[in-house]
Symmetry: C2
Subunit: 458 residues, 2 copies
């Protein structure tokens, strides 16, 4: 009997998780697995890249969970430096360019996993391709940024104040490089609400980053090499620029090959991670998932989702049955000692969906007020004004603050109301929490808001 | 119209929360509130006492959330040093002894809140009442223990290895006092499973505590003052002894007055915190609550429960409507840098209930493995072998480990299965978690166990 041939396009979290799971369930006598990866590396932590640039992580090899050689030991063949530029859905072949040998190969498949990930947004700004301008998406980007930082730049500018931009800013400041950050929006981290974002802006300024909000970058200037970043208000000198303008699903291959995209612009998949084409699967940043609060398809680019989707894809290819339930948009980050977390929908997202909400934001401490190390934590929760169902939550605070977001994620996941959260049996001891955990205080205040709002509508 | 008169017996978390909530909803023209407290202090954090003894908290006043004077400003009269020794349910009066004046007063009530708390277990061991032997239950105990520690004892023995015993041991070691701990059971912290308890025992030994397991105390020796603790195996010299043998609900007054107790031995209350007697309410450590996994009445003595129950009791007395849903037995503690947490049922509790379970325990790290500060965490989860419903969980690990127990508490609260937890959208970033949070890995392994067990029963 002929072996089934699985081709995986993309050798990071989603693709290689799918390959590994499929292999676990189907031996090499039954399933052949070949993965194509454009870069030199497989299965690495992209989230760790800013920390490698900042010398907090010393060796990039530590970011690699599994090398091509390690995959080979599981009978998963990885062809690195191979870029797949076409998928023939009828003939069931992929065409790949060997980026080193400049050779084109064609490979047949019975099953295909598209795991092409995401790519940094690169708007058509003059000078964006100048040497000295870095993205931070794949491991090679991190290695190159680290080299540039090691070379001792005079002054850096970060363009964009999302997670990556802020983590990069922290890394550069940590390395002693004077750093400015330019953000077009009125706040950094625009996936959280303005009142919470303000706390993060304060933290960013607090570590010495020169922060310019509401300034759009008009051009990156330079002559053979980056020299400055220009906005309408000012010109910021810089011999190092890092782009943190967000990411988009890398769907060029899918589009070119006729693989259907969904409403969000990412590849449409069902909960088993099947595309609308027979034998074609997809997982990770290039796919869309259902948002469990809004019900809408969304495209988030997070390692934790990619790993889960890859695993599910591999289980199904391996003959098992698993489904991806959807996402809440849970995310956490850190700017020096300030932790930031969110889950569910933000105010702006609720406005976009035409939804109303009640909210409460409370200031408390991470530990009992009298316990050494007790630090500020602000907890915000958004709830449906009629039912009290939790719609979203955000936390900004010092050490020990952010992971509490998981309690809200669990509440949303289970359809809980803020009223139903008030008496939750959460853990308490003075080194860990005030006797009323900040999460419970926020839920209680929001429940009072909901009751008040219901009273007004009687 | 005559004012309603509310008498509260017990001036700590439950009693004073009830008083404060009732006052918030009913002004002094409508409701008179008088609270009797045996000690000198009100509304303090009993959980903070070991940290005060250990000089981690410098001033006992910081443990007091609200003094009698502060309560008085809310028109809540507190009579400290008054011990209520009888409740007349028919005549609706309490009798209280003024411990300073040795005077007896009788006071009428329309509504009564019994919040007498819990008291340390003091088995009839020879010498247990010798000077130099300390309990650690009320604030005055903490003040006295601190004085004894400040006096520079030569050698201390802790009797009992529960939360209080371990926290006291850490405090004494922190103060530089050679300390031994004697525990009759084969492990410390017997509310967690033996395999997890072993990690805590290691931590206790690691900070220099001389640990003697499976040794029952036969006598406390001394001549006018404690000199040693004797077990079957050895005699441990000590000029300071701390009792950590657990607590029992303080129901002496309730029993003597004919207030009905429940199966657990604590005062029986409904979810609104009403006893079976008209006008008589009860809240906190002296009452029983429903365990949300076993369905059985239990009596746990934790500040977080007492505060919630007191608040609910006060809302109801104040004319509102609130109910206490029950408890999961969530608890967290810390022995130096080792954090310990649990929720739901342990193996021993499952055995007692005649229930079967599947389990998984996984070793992981608190942060991404490559991130500085990544520390060991062991996560254990117990699940129903047929449905996969989460029955309990335990965590032992270093900084950042224990608060994750709240995710399991949320899972149990919402009746989730381990299978249903595998793809939860929990927060991830390298400084906070591996890409697969230890909670998710444990759930996944337990889900595999459940599937295997179901396969075997086909």
């Amino acid at each position: 009997m002929a072996r089934t041939r699985l081709v995986v396009v993309g050798g990071d979290a989603a693709g290689m998780s799918a390959a590994a799971q499929a292999r676990k369930r189907r031996g090499p006598e039954d399933l052949e697995i070949v993965a194509f990866e454009r870069g030199r590396h497989t299965s690495y932590s992209a989230c760790g890249l800013p920390y490698y640039a900042g010398d907090i992580v010393k060796d990039w090899r530590d970011l690699v969970a599994r090398t091509p050689e390690e995959h080979a030991k599981q009978d998963i063949e990885v062809r690195t430096r191979h870029e797949v530029d076409h998928v023939d859905l009828d003939a069931r072949r992929v065409r790949a360019r060997d980026l080193d040998g400049d050779r084109v190969v064609e490979e047949p498949w019975d099953l295909l996993v598209v795991a092409t990930g995401s790519e940094p947004l690169r708007p058509p700004i003059d000078g964006i391709d100048l040497p000295g301008v870095y993205g931070l998406s794949v491991l090679q980007d991190g290695i190159e940024l680290r080299k540039a930082v090691d070379a001792g730049p005079e002054r850096a500018v970060i363009v964009g104040g999302g997670y990556i931009g802020l983590e990069a800013a922290e890394a550069l400041v940590h390395r002693g490089i004077p750093t400015a950050l330019v953000e077009a929006a009125p706040q950094v981290m625009n996936r959280i609400d303005p009142d919470m974002g303000e706390l993060v802006s304060e933290a960013v300024r607090g570590i010495g980053v020169e922060l310019h909000l509401e300034e759009e970058v008009e051009a990156i200037e330079g002559d053979g090499r980056v020299r400055a970043v220009r906005t309408a208000e000012r010109t910021l000198e810089a011999d190092l620029v890092v782009l943190g303008l967000g990411t988009q699903p890398a769907v060029g291959l899918a589009e070119a090959s006729g693989i259907e995209l969904g409403q969000s612009g990412a590849i449409a998949v069902n909960p088993r991670m099947q595309t609308r084409h027979d034998g074609v699967w997809a997982a990770g940043d290039c796919t869309e998932a259902r948002h469990l609060v809004s019900g809408k398809p969304v495209s988030y680019h997070l390692g934790t989702i990619a790993n889960k989707q890859g695993r599910i894809c591999g289980i199904n290819i391996g003959g098992g049955y698993a489904t991806f339930p959807g996402v809440l948009g849970t995310a956490v980050s850190k700017v020096c000692d300030v932790e930031v977390a969110r889950t569910g929908l933000s105010e702006a997202e609720l406005v976009d969906l035409g939804l109303e909400w009640e909210q409460a934001a409370v200031d408390s401490t991470t530990r009992a007020g009298y316990f050494p190390g007790a630090a500020p934590i602000r907890t915000k929760v958004l709830a449906d004004p009629r039912s009290g169902r939790v719609l979203g939550a955000q936390i900004v605070g010092k050490e020990g603050a952010a992971k509490r977001i998981d309690v809200f994620a669990m509440a949303i996941w289970n359809g809980m109301t803020v009223q139903g959260m008030v008496n939750l049996d959460l853990s308490y001891a003075p080194p860990f929490s005030p006797v009323w955990d900040p999460v419970l205080i926020a839920a209680r205040k929001a429940a009072e808001q909901v009751e008040r709002s219901l009273g007004e509508h009687l």
